[in-house]
Symmetry: C2
Subunit: 230 residues, 2 copies
DNA sequence: TTGACTTTGTGAATTAATGCACTAAGCCCT
DNA sequence: AGGGCTTAGTGCATTAATTCACAAAGTCAA
Protein backbone atom coordinates (compact mmCIF):
# COMPACT_ATOMS: atom_id res chain seq x y z
CA UNK A 1 0.00 0.00 0.00
CA UNK A 2 1.36 3.38 -0.93
CA UNK A 3 1.19 5.52 2.19
CA UNK A 4 0.70 9.19 1.46
CA UNK A 5 4.20 10.55 1.99
CA UNK A 6 4.10 13.05 4.83
CA UNK A 7 6.56 15.84 4.43
CA UNK A 8 9.46 15.46 6.82
CA UNK A 9 9.64 18.66 8.84
CA UNK A 10 12.84 19.38 10.77
CA UNK A 11 12.48 19.21 14.57
CA UNK A 12 13.59 22.78 14.97
CA UNK A 13 10.83 23.95 12.65
CA UNK A 14 8.15 21.90 14.40
CA UNK A 15 9.08 23.52 17.69
CA UNK A 16 8.49 26.95 16.15
CA UNK A 17 5.13 26.25 14.53
CA UNK A 18 3.24 26.52 17.83
CA UNK A 19 4.82 29.92 18.38
CA UNK A 20 3.73 31.14 14.99
CA UNK A 21 0.28 29.73 15.62
CA UNK A 22 -0.02 31.64 18.84
CA UNK A 23 0.99 34.87 17.13
CA UNK A 24 -1.51 34.24 14.35
CA UNK A 25 -4.22 33.86 16.97
CA UNK A 26 -3.30 37.25 18.34
CA UNK A 27 -3.34 38.76 14.86
CA UNK A 28 -6.76 37.28 14.19
CA UNK A 29 -8.00 38.70 17.50
CA UNK A 30 -6.99 42.17 16.33
CA UNK A 31 -8.64 41.65 12.96
CA UNK A 32 -5.45 41.48 10.96
CA UNK A 33 -6.14 39.61 7.71
CA UNK A 34 -2.71 39.32 6.17
CA UNK A 35 0.94 39.46 7.18
CA UNK A 36 4.38 39.18 5.59
CA UNK A 37 7.21 36.92 6.69
CA UNK A 38 9.00 40.05 7.90
CA UNK A 39 6.16 40.96 10.21
CA UNK A 40 5.80 37.49 11.64
CA UNK A 41 9.56 37.27 12.07
CA UNK A 42 9.58 40.49 14.07
CA UNK A 43 6.76 39.25 16.31
CA UNK A 44 8.38 35.87 16.85
CA UNK A 45 11.85 37.31 17.32
CA UNK A 46 13.43 35.29 14.53
CA UNK A 47 14.89 35.75 11.07
CA UNK A 48 12.44 36.31 8.19
CA UNK A 49 14.07 33.70 5.98
CA UNK A 50 13.58 31.17 8.75
CA UNK A 51 9.89 32.01 8.91
CA UNK A 52 9.52 31.51 5.17
CA UNK A 53 11.43 28.25 5.22
CA UNK A 54 9.46 26.95 8.19
CA UNK A 55 6.16 27.82 6.52
CA UNK A 56 7.32 26.34 3.22
CA UNK A 57 7.51 22.91 4.87
CA UNK A 58 3.73 23.07 5.18
CA UNK A 59 3.30 23.82 1.49
CA UNK A 60 3.23 26.90 -0.66
CA UNK A 61 0.56 28.87 1.10
CA UNK A 62 1.78 32.43 0.68
CA UNK A 63 1.27 34.82 -2.21
CA UNK A 64 4.33 36.50 -3.63
CA UNK A 65 4.20 40.23 -3.40
CA UNK A 66 1.38 39.99 -0.84
CA UNK A 67 2.12 37.72 2.08
CA UNK A 68 0.13 35.08 3.97
CA UNK A 69 -3.52 35.04 4.98
CA UNK A 70 -4.00 34.75 8.73
CA UNK A 71 -6.98 32.39 8.74
CA UNK A 72 -5.75 30.15 5.98
CA UNK A 73 -2.30 29.71 7.42
CA UNK A 74 -3.71 29.18 10.91
CA UNK A 75 -5.73 26.35 9.46
CA UNK A 76 -2.71 24.81 7.75
CA UNK A 77 -0.51 24.94 10.85
CA UNK A 78 -3.27 23.42 12.96
CA UNK A 79 -3.71 20.66 10.44
CA UNK A 80 -0.01 19.91 10.40
CA UNK A 81 0.29 19.88 14.18
CA UNK A 82 -2.75 17.66 14.56
CA UNK A 83 -4.78 20.39 16.21
CA UNK A 84 -7.96 19.95 14.19
CA UNK A 85 -9.24 17.86 17.09
CA UNK A 86 -8.91 17.80 20.86
CA UNK A 87 -6.55 15.43 22.66
CA UNK A 88 -7.61 14.33 26.11
CA UNK A 89 -5.06 14.53 28.90
CA UNK A 90 -4.57 12.70 32.19
CA UNK A 91 -2.45 14.20 34.96
CA UNK A 92 -0.55 11.65 37.05
CA UNK A 93 0.32 13.06 40.47
CA UNK A 94 -2.19 15.15 42.41
CA UNK A 95 0.28 17.35 44.26
CA UNK A 96 0.52 21.14 44.06
CA UNK A 97 1.69 21.21 40.51
CA UNK A 98 -0.64 18.48 39.28
CA UNK A 99 -3.71 20.16 40.73
CA UNK A 100 -2.65 23.55 39.40
CA UNK A 101 -2.22 22.08 35.93
CA UNK A 102 -5.58 20.31 36.10
CA UNK A 103 -7.18 23.72 36.70
CA UNK A 104 -4.92 25.50 34.24
CA UNK A 105 -6.87 27.26 31.45
CA UNK A 106 -3.99 27.08 29.04
CA UNK A 107 -4.49 23.37 28.49
CA UNK A 108 -8.19 23.39 27.70
CA UNK A 109 -8.03 26.59 25.68
CA UNK A 110 -5.47 25.09 23.37
CA UNK A 111 -7.39 21.91 22.82
CA UNK A 112 -6.00 19.66 25.54
CA UNK A 113 -8.75 19.11 28.12
CA UNK A 114 -7.58 17.47 31.33
CA UNK A 115 -10.23 14.79 31.75
CA UNK A 116 -8.68 12.85 34.63
CA UNK A 117 -6.19 13.12 37.45
CA UNK A 118 -4.77 10.14 39.36
CA UNK A 119 -2.41 9.51 42.25
CA UNK A 120 -1.01 6.52 44.11
CA UNK A 121 -1.61 8.00 47.57
CA UNK A 122 -4.81 6.60 49.19
CA UNK A 123 -5.10 9.85 51.13
CA UNK A 124 -5.45 11.80 47.88
CA UNK A 125 -7.60 9.36 45.93
CA UNK A 126 -11.24 10.42 46.09
CA UNK A 127 -10.54 14.10 46.72
CA UNK A 128 -12.05 16.53 44.28
CA UNK A 129 -10.10 19.28 42.57
CA UNK A 130 -11.67 21.60 40.00
CA UNK A 131 -14.54 19.25 39.08
CA UNK A 132 -12.26 16.21 38.84
CA UNK A 133 -12.07 13.45 41.39
CA UNK A 134 -8.60 12.07 41.95
CA UNK A 135 -8.51 8.49 40.66
CA UNK A 136 -6.27 5.56 41.49
CA UNK A 137 -3.17 5.23 39.35
CA UNK A 138 -3.83 1.49 39.27
CA UNK A 139 -7.05 2.13 37.33
CA UNK A 140 -5.15 4.03 34.66
CA UNK A 141 -5.78 1.41 32.00
CA UNK A 142 -9.55 1.69 32.36
CA UNK A 143 -9.50 5.45 32.71
CA UNK A 144 -7.42 5.89 29.57
CA UNK A 145 -9.73 3.63 27.61
CA UNK A 146 -12.99 5.07 28.92
CA UNK A 147 -11.96 8.69 28.64
CA UNK A 148 -10.18 8.26 25.31
CA UNK A 149 -6.99 9.79 26.66
CA UNK A 150 -3.99 10.36 24.38
CA UNK A 151 -1.52 12.30 26.50
CA UNK A 152 -0.18 11.75 30.00
CA UNK A 153 1.32 14.51 32.15
CA UNK A 154 3.61 13.37 34.96
CA UNK A 155 3.74 15.65 38.01
CA UNK A 156 4.77 13.07 40.60
CA UNK A 157 7.86 13.18 42.75
CA UNK A 158 11.07 12.17 41.00
CA UNK A 159 11.07 8.81 42.72
CA UNK A 160 7.59 7.92 41.49
CA UNK A 161 7.98 9.27 37.97
CA UNK A 162 9.36 6.18 36.27
CA UNK A 163 6.57 4.04 37.72
CA UNK A 164 4.08 6.65 36.53
CA UNK A 165 5.57 6.48 33.04
CA UNK A 166 5.44 2.69 33.08
CA UNK A 167 1.76 2.78 34.06
CA UNK A 168 0.96 5.26 31.31
CA UNK A 169 2.77 3.20 28.71
CA UNK A 170 1.11 0.06 29.94
CA UNK A 171 -2.22 1.83 29.50
CA UNK A 172 -1.33 2.49 25.88
CA UNK A 173 -0.28 6.13 26.13
CA UNK A 174 2.27 7.21 23.51
CA UNK A 175 2.78 10.86 24.45
CA UNK A 176 4.15 11.98 27.79
CA UNK A 177 4.84 15.42 29.21
CA UNK A 178 7.17 14.92 32.16
CA UNK A 179 7.68 17.52 34.88
CA UNK A 180 9.81 15.31 37.12
CA UNK A 181 13.54 16.04 36.92
CA UNK A 182 14.32 12.54 35.72
CA UNK A 183 15.33 11.08 32.38
CA UNK A 184 12.57 8.55 31.81
CA UNK A 185 13.37 5.25 30.24
CA UNK A 186 10.77 4.55 27.56
CA UNK A 187 10.45 2.65 24.30
CA UNK A 188 11.39 4.69 21.24
CA UNK A 189 7.82 4.54 20.01
CA UNK A 190 6.77 6.80 22.88
CA UNK A 191 7.20 10.57 22.68
CA UNK A 192 8.47 12.24 25.82
CA UNK A 193 8.84 15.96 26.37
CA UNK A 194 10.56 17.06 29.55
CA UNK A 195 9.77 20.31 31.29
CA UNK A 196 12.25 20.66 34.08
CA UNK A 197 11.80 23.98 35.79
CA UNK A 198 15.06 23.54 37.67
CA UNK A 199 16.93 23.11 34.40
CA UNK A 200 15.47 26.32 33.03
CA UNK A 201 16.55 28.23 36.12
CA UNK A 202 20.00 26.69 35.96
CA UNK A 203 20.39 27.81 32.38
CA UNK A 204 19.43 31.32 33.46
CA UNK A 205 21.89 31.00 36.32
CA UNK A 206 24.67 30.29 33.83
CA UNK A 207 24.03 33.50 31.95
CA UNK A 208 23.54 35.45 35.19
CA UNK A 209 26.91 34.18 36.42
CA UNK A 210 28.44 34.97 33.02
CA UNK A 211 27.21 38.56 33.26
CA UNK A 212 28.88 38.91 36.64
CA UNK A 213 32.17 37.41 35.47
CA UNK A 214 32.31 39.49 32.32
CA UNK A 215 31.11 42.66 34.00
CA UNK A 216 27.73 42.67 32.27
CA UNK A 217 29.21 42.73 28.79
CA UNK A 218 27.86 39.36 27.73
CA UNK A 219 24.72 38.60 25.77
CA UNK A 220 21.53 37.23 27.24
CA UNK A 221 20.44 33.62 27.06
CA UNK A 222 18.86 32.28 23.92
CA UNK A 223 15.11 32.47 24.20
CA UNK A 224 13.55 29.73 22.14
CA UNK A 225 13.79 25.99 22.57
CA UNK A 226 14.15 23.67 19.66
CA UNK A 227 12.60 20.25 19.66
CA UNK A 228 16.14 19.10 20.43
CA UNK A 229 17.58 15.66 19.82
CA UNK A 230 17.33 12.45 21.75
CA UNK B 1 42.46 44.98 32.04
CA UNK B 2 42.84 41.41 30.90
CA UNK B 3 39.58 39.68 31.72
CA UNK B 4 39.99 35.99 32.44
CA UNK B 5 38.79 34.46 29.18
CA UNK B 6 35.78 32.31 29.93
CA UNK B 7 35.50 29.25 27.73
CA UNK B 8 32.71 29.60 25.21
CA UNK B 9 30.40 26.65 25.70
CA UNK B 10 27.91 25.82 22.94
CA UNK B 11 24.26 26.44 23.82
CA UNK B 12 23.35 22.83 23.23
CA UNK B 13 25.98 21.72 25.72
CA UNK B 14 24.89 24.21 28.38
CA UNK B 15 21.35 22.88 28.15
CA UNK B 16 22.64 19.39 28.91
CA UNK B 17 24.83 20.26 31.89
CA UNK B 18 21.87 20.56 34.29
CA UNK B 19 20.74 17.08 33.20
CA UNK B 20 24.15 15.63 33.92
CA UNK B 21 24.20 17.44 37.24
CA UNK B 22 20.91 15.94 38.23
CA UNK B 23 22.13 12.46 37.37
CA UNK B 24 25.32 13.04 39.35
CA UNK B 25 23.21 13.99 42.36
CA UNK B 26 21.39 10.67 42.06
CA UNK B 27 24.67 8.82 41.77
CA UNK B 28 26.02 10.56 44.85
CA UNK B 29 22.84 9.66 46.73
CA UNK B 30 23.48 6.01 45.97
CA UNK B 31 27.11 6.29 47.06
CA UNK B 32 28.58 5.92 43.59
CA UNK B 33 32.04 7.48 43.57
CA UNK B 34 33.06 7.24 39.93
CA UNK B 35 31.46 6.83 36.52
CA UNK B 36 32.52 6.58 32.89
CA UNK B 37 31.21 8.62 29.99
CA UNK B 38 29.44 5.48 28.80
CA UNK B 39 27.52 5.15 32.04
CA UNK B 40 26.51 8.78 32.18
CA UNK B 41 25.52 8.63 28.52
CA UNK B 42 23.23 5.68 29.18
CA UNK B 43 21.60 7.44 32.12
CA UNK B 44 21.13 10.67 30.21
CA UNK B 45 19.98 8.94 27.04
CA UNK B 46 22.66 10.46 24.84
CA UNK B 47 25.80 9.47 22.95
CA UNK B 48 28.96 8.86 25.01
CA UNK B 49 31.13 10.99 22.76
CA UNK B 50 28.72 13.84 23.33
CA UNK B 51 29.07 13.45 27.09
CA UNK B 52 32.85 13.55 26.85
CA UNK B 53 32.78 16.57 24.55
CA UNK B 54 30.31 18.40 26.79
CA UNK B 55 32.42 17.73 29.88
CA UNK B 56 35.59 18.69 28.08
CA UNK B 57 34.25 22.23 27.72
CA UNK B 58 34.56 22.52 31.50
CA UNK B 59 38.19 21.42 31.47
CA UNK B 60 40.01 18.14 31.58
CA UNK B 61 38.51 16.69 34.72
CA UNK B 62 38.40 12.98 33.91
CA UNK B 63 41.09 10.33 34.27
CA UNK B 64 41.81 8.18 31.23
CA UNK B 65 41.24 4.53 31.87
CA UNK B 66 39.22 5.37 34.98
CA UNK B 67 36.45 7.88 34.42
CA UNK B 68 35.17 10.89 36.32
CA UNK B 69 34.76 11.42 40.04
CA UNK B 70 31.20 12.19 41.04
CA UNK B 71 31.88 14.83 43.68
CA UNK B 72 34.62 16.59 41.80
CA UNK B 73 32.68 16.82 38.55
CA UNK B 74 29.54 17.89 40.39
CA UNK B 75 31.54 20.73 41.83
CA UNK B 76 32.87 21.75 38.43
CA UNK B 77 29.48 21.72 36.74
CA UNK B 78 27.99 23.75 39.58
CA UNK B 79 30.80 26.23 39.32
CA UNK B 80 30.32 26.60 35.58
CA UNK B 81 26.55 27.02 35.85
CA UNK B 82 26.87 29.56 38.63
CA UNK B 83 25.31 27.25 41.20
CA UNK B 84 27.87 27.77 43.98
CA UNK B 85 25.42 30.25 45.43
CA UNK B 86 21.66 30.69 45.68
CA UNK B 87 19.75 32.99 43.38
CA UNK B 88 16.62 34.57 44.82
CA UNK B 89 13.45 34.44 42.76
CA UNK B 90 10.31 36.56 42.58
CA UNK B 91 7.11 35.18 41.10
CA UNK B 92 4.98 37.73 39.26
CA UNK B 93 1.35 36.63 39.08
CA UNK B 94 -0.34 35.02 42.08
CA UNK B 95 -2.77 32.80 40.19
CA UNK B 96 -2.95 29.02 40.36
CA UNK B 97 0.34 28.43 38.65
CA UNK B 98 2.18 31.22 40.44
CA UNK B 99 1.09 30.02 43.88
CA UNK B 100 1.92 26.42 43.01
CA UNK B 101 5.39 27.46 41.89
CA UNK B 102 5.92 29.54 45.03
CA UNK B 103 5.30 26.40 47.07
CA UNK B 104 7.16 24.14 44.68
CA UNK B 105 10.05 22.30 46.36
CA UNK B 106 11.97 21.92 43.14
CA UNK B 107 12.94 25.58 43.12
CA UNK B 108 14.30 25.83 46.64
CA UNK B 109 15.98 22.43 46.54
CA UNK B 110 17.97 23.43 43.50
CA UNK B 111 19.11 26.69 44.95
CA UNK B 112 16.42 29.09 43.74
CA UNK B 113 14.39 30.18 46.77
CA UNK B 114 11.20 32.03 45.94
CA UNK B 115 11.46 34.98 48.30
CA UNK B 116 8.57 37.08 47.01
CA UNK B 117 5.38 36.88 45.02
CA UNK B 118 3.56 39.89 43.58
CA UNK B 119 0.39 40.62 41.63
CA UNK B 120 -1.39 43.63 40.21
CA UNK B 121 -4.83 42.61 41.47
CA UNK B 122 -5.78 44.46 44.70
CA UNK B 123 -7.94 41.48 45.65
CA UNK B 124 -4.88 39.23 45.73
CA UNK B 125 -2.38 41.64 47.26
CA UNK B 126 -2.05 40.97 50.98
CA UNK B 127 -3.12 37.34 50.81
CA UNK B 128 -0.72 34.79 52.21
CA UNK B 129 0.41 31.71 50.33
CA UNK B 130 2.95 29.30 51.74
CA UNK B 131 4.56 31.78 54.14
CA UNK B 132 4.71 34.53 51.53
CA UNK B 133 2.43 37.53 51.43
CA UNK B 134 1.43 38.63 47.95
CA UNK B 135 3.02 42.00 47.28
CA UNK B 136 2.13 44.79 44.87
CA UNK B 137 3.75 44.59 41.46
CA UNK B 138 4.29 48.35 41.70
CA UNK B 139 6.65 47.80 44.62
CA UNK B 140 8.80 45.46 42.56
CA UNK B 141 11.74 47.82 42.49
CA UNK B 142 11.98 47.93 46.28
CA UNK B 143 11.28 44.24 46.70
CA UNK B 144 13.98 43.28 44.22
CA UNK B 145 16.49 45.50 45.94
CA UNK B 146 15.60 44.54 49.51
CA UNK B 147 15.37 40.83 48.87
CA UNK B 148 18.39 40.73 46.55
CA UNK B 149 16.40 39.05 43.78
CA UNK B 150 18.11 37.96 40.58
CA UNK B 151 15.44 36.04 38.69
CA UNK B 152 11.83 36.83 37.85
CA UNK B 153 9.23 34.20 37.00
CA UNK B 154 6.21 35.41 35.05
CA UNK B 155 2.98 33.50 35.63
CA UNK B 156 0.52 36.22 34.74
CA UNK B 157 -2.11 36.05 32.02
CA UNK B 158 -0.83 36.56 28.49
CA UNK B 159 -2.20 40.06 28.39
CA UNK B 160 -0.33 41.14 31.54
CA UNK B 161 2.94 39.38 30.76
CA UNK B 162 4.66 42.13 28.79
CA UNK B 163 3.89 44.66 31.51
CA UNK B 164 5.22 42.20 34.08
CA UNK B 165 8.42 41.83 32.07
CA UNK B 166 8.76 45.59 31.77
CA UNK B 167 8.38 45.97 35.54
CA UNK B 168 10.98 43.29 36.20
CA UNK B 169 13.43 44.86 33.78
CA UNK B 170 12.79 48.27 35.24
CA UNK B 171 13.60 46.78 38.66
CA UNK B 172 16.94 45.65 37.29
CA UNK B 173 16.19 41.97 36.71
CA UNK B 174 18.22 40.38 33.93
CA UNK B 175 16.89 36.82 33.99
CA UNK B 176 13.27 35.94 33.28
CA UNK B 177 11.47 32.64 33.21
CA UNK B 178 8.23 33.22 31.31
CA UNK B 179 5.23 30.90 31.51
CA UNK B 180 2.89 33.14 29.52
CA UNK B 181 2.42 32.05 25.91
CA UNK B 182 3.81 35.30 24.56
CA UNK B 183 7.07 36.26 22.91
CA UNK B 184 8.31 38.98 25.25
CA UNK B 185 10.02 41.99 23.84
CA UNK B 186 13.14 42.63 25.89
CA UNK B 187 16.58 44.20 25.51
CA UNK B 188 19.22 41.73 24.35
CA UNK B 189 21.04 42.10 27.65
CA UNK B 190 18.17 40.28 29.37
CA UNK B 191 17.95 36.47 29.35
CA UNK B 192 14.50 35.05 28.77
CA UNK B 193 13.55 31.39 28.91
CA UNK B 194 10.06 30.49 27.82
CA UNK B 195 8.17 27.55 29.24
CA UNK B 196 4.99 27.27 27.26
CA UNK B 197 3.06 24.21 28.33
CA UNK B 198 0.73 24.57 25.38
CA UNK B 199 3.67 24.46 22.99
CA UNK B 200 4.94 21.26 24.57
CA UNK B 201 1.55 19.62 24.18
CA UNK B 202 1.28 20.82 20.60
CA UNK B 203 4.63 19.26 19.79
CA UNK B 204 3.39 16.00 21.28
CA UNK B 205 0.22 16.40 19.26
CA UNK B 206 2.26 16.57 16.07
CA UNK B 207 3.90 13.23 16.78
CA UNK B 208 0.62 11.72 17.96
CA UNK B 209 -1.01 12.82 14.70
CA UNK B 210 1.98 11.49 12.77
CA UNK B 211 1.60 8.09 14.41
CA UNK B 212 -2.03 7.98 13.33
CA UNK B 213 -1.26 9.02 9.76
CA UNK B 214 1.60 6.58 9.35
CA UNK B 215 -0.14 3.74 11.14
CA UNK B 216 2.10 3.87 14.21
CA UNK B 217 5.26 3.28 12.23
CA UNK B 218 6.85 6.61 13.05
CA UNK B 219 9.38 7.42 15.74
CA UNK B 220 8.60 9.25 18.94
CA UNK B 221 9.31 12.89 19.60
CA UNK B 222 12.80 13.98 20.52
CA UNK B 223 13.12 14.20 24.26
CA UNK B 224 15.68 16.81 25.16
CA UNK B 225 15.58 20.53 24.58
CA UNK B 226 18.61 22.47 23.53
CA UNK B 227 19.17 26.00 24.66
CA UNK B 228 17.90 26.92 21.21
CA UNK B 229 18.59 30.12 19.28
CA UNK B 230 16.99 33.51 19.41
C1' DT C 1 0.12 46.10 -21.56
C1' DT C 2 4.00 47.45 -19.37
C1' DG C 3 7.13 48.50 -15.78
C1' DA C 4 8.10 49.43 -10.89
C1' DC C 5 7.58 47.33 -6.66
C1' DT C 6 6.78 43.79 -3.16
C1' DT C 7 7.34 39.47 -1.09
C1' DT C 8 7.51 34.46 -1.45
C1' DG C 9 10.06 30.23 -2.12
C1' DT C 10 14.36 28.08 -2.43
C1' DG C 11 19.24 26.84 -4.03
C1' DA C 12 23.58 27.50 -2.03
C1' DA C 13 26.78 29.01 1.52
C1' DT C 14 27.60 29.12 6.24
C1' DT C 15 27.49 27.85 10.89
C1' DA C 16 26.41 24.76 14.65
C1' DA C 17 25.92 20.27 16.50
C1' DT C 18 26.71 15.49 16.42
C1' DG C 19 29.08 11.19 16.34
C1' DC C 20 32.90 8.32 14.72
C1' DA C 21 37.26 6.58 15.33
C1' DC C 22 41.72 7.05 16.89
C1' DT C 23 45.43 8.68 20.08
C1' DA C 24 47.03 9.55 24.61
C1' DA C 25 47.09 8.20 29.46
C1' DG C 26 46.45 5.94 33.18
C1' DC C 27 45.50 1.33 35.90
C1' DC C 28 46.42 -3.43 37.02
C1' DC C 29 48.39 -7.89 36.79
C1' DT C 30 52.30 -10.76 36.12
C1' DA D 1 59.40 -3.26 34.08
C1' DG D 2 56.22 -4.40 30.65
C1' DG D 3 52.08 -5.66 28.23
C1' DG D 4 47.15 -5.72 28.08
C1' DC D 5 43.09 -3.32 29.16
C1' DT D 6 40.17 0.65 29.88
C1' DT D 7 38.54 5.14 29.07
C1' DA D 8 39.18 10.28 28.44
C1' DG D 9 40.03 13.75 25.06
C1' DT D 10 39.79 15.32 20.36
C1' DG D 11 40.47 15.90 15.11
C1' DC D 12 37.59 15.12 11.44
C1' DA D 13 33.66 13.73 8.71
C1' DT D 14 28.81 14.05 8.70
C1' DT D 15 24.41 15.87 9.46
C1' DA D 16 21.24 19.49 10.85
C1' DA D 17 19.98 24.19 11.13
C1' DT D 18 20.41 28.80 9.84
C1' DT D 19 21.03 32.61 6.90
C1' DC D 20 21.97 34.84 2.56
C1' DA D 21 20.69 36.31 -1.74
C1' DC D 22 18.21 35.99 -5.79
C1' DA D 23 14.86 34.31 -9.26
C1' DA D 24 9.93 33.69 -9.71
C1' DA D 25 5.48 35.37 -9.25
C1' DG D 26 2.39 38.16 -7.96
C1' DT D 27 0.17 43.36 -7.25
C1' DC D 28 -0.80 47.91 -8.75
C1' DA D 29 -0.82 52.23 -11.24
C1' DA D 30 -0.59 54.56 -15.41
Amino acid sequence: MTQLQRRKIPDAAIARLPIYLQILNNLAATNVLRFSSDELAALAGVNAAKVRKDLSYLGSYGTRGVGYEVTYLTHQIKRELGLMREWNVVVVGAGNLGCALAKFDGFLSRGFPVVAIVDNDPKKIGRTTSSLTVGDVNDLKNIVRDEKISIGVITTSSSASQAAADSLIDAGIKSILNFAPVVLSTPSSVSVRNVDLGVELQILSYFEQMRIETGGKSEGAPQLNTAGAR
